[in-house]
């Protein structure tokens, strides 16, 4: 207040009149011809919240009707041009605390008490207006409001809720009807209330439709004080009761939670994840992307995804990307998609990428998980080098073994050869004892030879050097050949060797030499462990397999020994007789059978005999 009160301008009133003015619950205000407030009673203070000393000398319109409302009120101002008639004015006024109220003014101009003084008698009619408006709106829109899935709040010009539907009441935790007349600010958190009041005033001054989710992230406040994320859409509705703002409120806790979970998921992923839209623009990236590529997320969002590629690959990538967009499908990592990526500093590094399409309301997005495989490539290279080294070592070993084998055979040639000439009595006659001892030497020589041969075979199989070239083979012929090889051994022991072969050829895809070797091993074993009776090789087709069954009437194999049968050097102690053999025969046969795509099954009964069956694919 720049100046003190001006008693000369104030009408001189009787004490009774003073009391009347002071006790009147209505706002009694007097303005001068410049509509400055010269009188302000206690009622005015109660209605508008301004104290007398704050109100005096202020232009009334500026104080109570700031902004755009002023003009409307000024138009309705009474009697400044000599009209002495009373007039009524109903308007929305601003209180000192920022809230809005409906005020019903009766005005009268007094020419006599000075030029252009006006008496304003005002009354807060907010509640009756709201009730009235609520009645009207409910009658008109009630059913419609109840049938919408959102919470609906109809808010009057004063910011009070005129009408709320059941969804809104439940959402905010109020009883039916309880929201009516409540300032809508009660539904926002306290800390943002002032901002909201300002925004609301702004909106009421310039009402327009605003879609949900179009604004900032909003929070609602339940009656319990709990806050929750909401989306609000506003639309103005002009009614006989004034401007009403229709607010549709949606609780988006679930959606935000989902979004938050999605982001958490992105962040938890070990790979850099970049989500692009249909034009290849990056719409989302996790923090792993930042560290992998050296960009901050803000820099990446909105960029074409090609920014992450070396220049030379960008052109082709656009084509790839468009091709993918045309036929989007999940593509796993390592599915033939190895790329080079480019760090912000220009450094290139190898990556593996998996793609998956995400269908959204905003269109088809593509999620790309990008993994730096620099380390893996290095490991791979090291492994390849090591493999090469191993291959060289293996070759050296093979050569060494071949050389050893040759060196071992040379003296064996002499041992077996000259024992043979002696036993053939080429140099002269032998005593029984000489013959017996020479035969022992001969047996030992053969045994040693077998060992060397088996070891060499084994080495080749173990080092992967034995390749079988599968070709059509007549199983009967292989069986006959193997049978011929062991016939003399069988006859020497007085065993019957029976070949039970079908009339027609049994053609399978196999390798003749390997097949014959396995059959020979099985037959030789059968002969070796059978003292009386027969050894029988039966060939037949069973379902889609071909089975070579080598059956003997030998000593049989105990159940507990069977697992050991196919292990290297695991000769079973069967009886006390010394039997020739290296302990490698069945092991080699098993490996060869596997190379041929088959296996060897064993059935045996101690004292009755054994059946070793080579099962091969029949095609």
């Amino acid at each position: 207040m720049s100046q003190g009160p001006l008693p000369t301008r104030r009408p001189r009133l009787q004490p009774v009149e003073d009391a009347l003015l002071a006790l009147n619950p209505d706002a009694l205000i007097v303005t001068d011809p410049l509509t400055r407030i010269v009188h302000w009673n206690a009622g005015a203070e109660a209605v508008f919240g301004h104290r007398e000393q704050d109100a005096l000398e202020r232009p009334l319109v500026e104080l109570l009707f700031p902004g755009d409302r002023a003009r409307e009120v000024e138009r309705a101002l009474p009697g400044t041009r000599g009209c002495a008639a009373d007039s009524r004015l109903e308007a929305v006024a601003l209180r000192a605390d920022g809230s809005l109220i409906h005020v019903d003014f009766v005005t009268r101009a007094f020419q006599g008490t000075g030029p252009g003084h006006v008496l304003w008698v005002g009354r807060d009619v907010t509640q009756p207006r709201l009730t009235q408006a609520a009645r009207h709106l409910e009658a008109r829109y009630g059913e419609l409001l109840e049938s919408t899935p959102d919470g609906m709040l109809l808010v009057g010009e004063t910011g009070h809720i005129v009408l709320a539907n059941g969804n809104a009441e439940r959402m905010f935790g109020y009883d039916p009807g309880e929201l009516q007349g409540v300032p809508v600010d009660a539904l926002v958190p306290h800390r943002v209330r002032e901002v909201h009041v300002g925004r609301r005033a702004g909106y009421v001054n310039q009402p327009r439709v605003r879609a949900m989710g179009g604004g900032a992230e909003l929070l609602g406040r339940r009656k319990s004080g709990e806050e929750f994320p909401v989306e609000v859409s506003l639309s103005p509705l002009r009614t006989d009761d004034g401007l009403v703002v229709i607010s549709a409120v949606r609780d988006v806790s679930d959606r935000l939670n989902a979004t938050r979970r999605f982001r958490a998921l992105l962040e938890a992923a070990p790979d850099a994840i970049v989500i692009t839209d249909s034009q290849g623009r990056i719409v989302l990236a996790n923090s792993q992307t930042d560290s992998l590529f050296g960009y901050s997320r803000e820099e990446l969002i909105g960029q074409k995804v090609e920014v992450l590629l070396p220049d030379r690959l960008r052109g082709t990538h656009v084509a790839h990307r468009e091709g993918y967009a045309a036929y989007p499908k999940f593509r796993a990592m390592g599915a033939g998609l190895e790329l080079f990526a480019r760090h912000r500093d220009g450094r290139e590094f190898p990556v593996e990428v998996s793609l998956s399409p995400i269908s959204t309301k905003e269109g088809m997005l593509t999620s790309a998980a990008i993994r730096d495989i620099t380390e893996r490539k290095a490991v791979q290279r090291r492994l390849e080098e090591q493999n090469l080294e191993l291959a060289r070592a293996s070759e050296a070993k093979t050569n060494f073994l071949a050389g050893m084998s040759h060196e071992l055979r040379t003296p064996l040639n002499a041992i077996i050869g000259f024992t043979g000439t002696l036993l053939m009595r080429l140099p002269g006659p032998l005593t029984d004892e000489q013959e017996k001892q020479l035969k022992t030497v001969q047996w030992a020589g053969h045994h040693l030879l077998a060992l060397i041969n088996d070891l060499l075979d084994l080495t080749r199989i173990e080092s992967g050097e034995t390749h079988v070239d599968l070709a059509p083979v007549d199983g009967s012929e292989a069986a006959l050949e193997a049978g011929t090889q062991v016939r003399s051994q069988a006859e020497e022991k007085g065993l019957e060797l029976e070949l039970d072969l079908p009339e027609t050829p049994v053609v399978i895809r196999s390798e003749r030499r390997a097949l014959t070797q396995v059959l020979m091993n099985l037959l030789a074993n059968a002969v070796k462990y059978t003292e009386t009776g027969r050894v029988r090789l039966r060939l037949r087709r069973v379902d889609d397999t071909v089975r070579f069954e080598v059956q003997d009437t030998g000593i049989g194999i105990r159940r507990e020994d069977r697992q050991r049968l196919f292990k290297a050097f695991s000769r079973l102690e069967r009886g006390n007789e010394k039997r020739p053999g290296t302990g490698l025969g069945l092991y080699l046969s098993g490996r060869l059978a596997a190379l041929l795509g088959g296996r060897i099954d064993v059935h045996s009964r101690v004292g009755v005999g054994s059946t070793f069956t080579l099962v091969l694919p029949g095609a």
Binding site: A402, G403, A414, G420, R460, E465
Partner: protein
């Protein structure tokens, strides 16, 4: 076969050579020998034997080299060349088959049957004529 044959043994190991010579001469064949491929080729040209039994691994000139030289010599067209091999290297078998020997004997030899095998090779003659 009782007819005497002229046989050239090419073998660097004296014991193996001795064994083979003993067996073959015992059966009445005429045996000459060389201890490496070079000498073997020279003797073959000189003697024109019925058959050459030749070790594969030898110094100076190995069995394959000997075969090549003998085959290149039109004067030795009728000579049967047999490899005596221990099949010690993984691809020996294929190599022997591909090289063009007229046959092969496996070491260690079987003293009971080796002479019969050699006589069989002589009787069969060159496997593919002079081609």
């Amino acid at each position: 076969m009782s007819e005497m044959a002229r046989i050239l043994l090419v073998e660097d190991n004296p014991t193996n050579l001795e064994l083979m010579r003993y067996l073959l001469t015992h059966h009445g064949h005429h045996v000459e020998s060389a201890q490496n491929g070079e000498d073997g080729v020279r003797l073959a040209r000189q003697l024109r034997p019925d058959i050459v039994l030749c070790d594969l691994r030898m110094p100076y000139l190995d069995g394959y080299g000997l075969l090549k030289r003998v085959r290149a010599d039109r004067g030795l067209d009728e000579v049967v060349v047999i490899a005596v091999t221990a099949y010690s290297m993984p691809d020996d078998r294929k190599r022997v088959a591909a090289a063009g020997f007229d046959g092969h004997l496996t070491k260690p030899i079987a003293p009971e049957s080796v002479v019969g095998q050699v006589e069989g090779f002589i009787a069969a003659g060159r496997r593919n004529g002079s081609g």
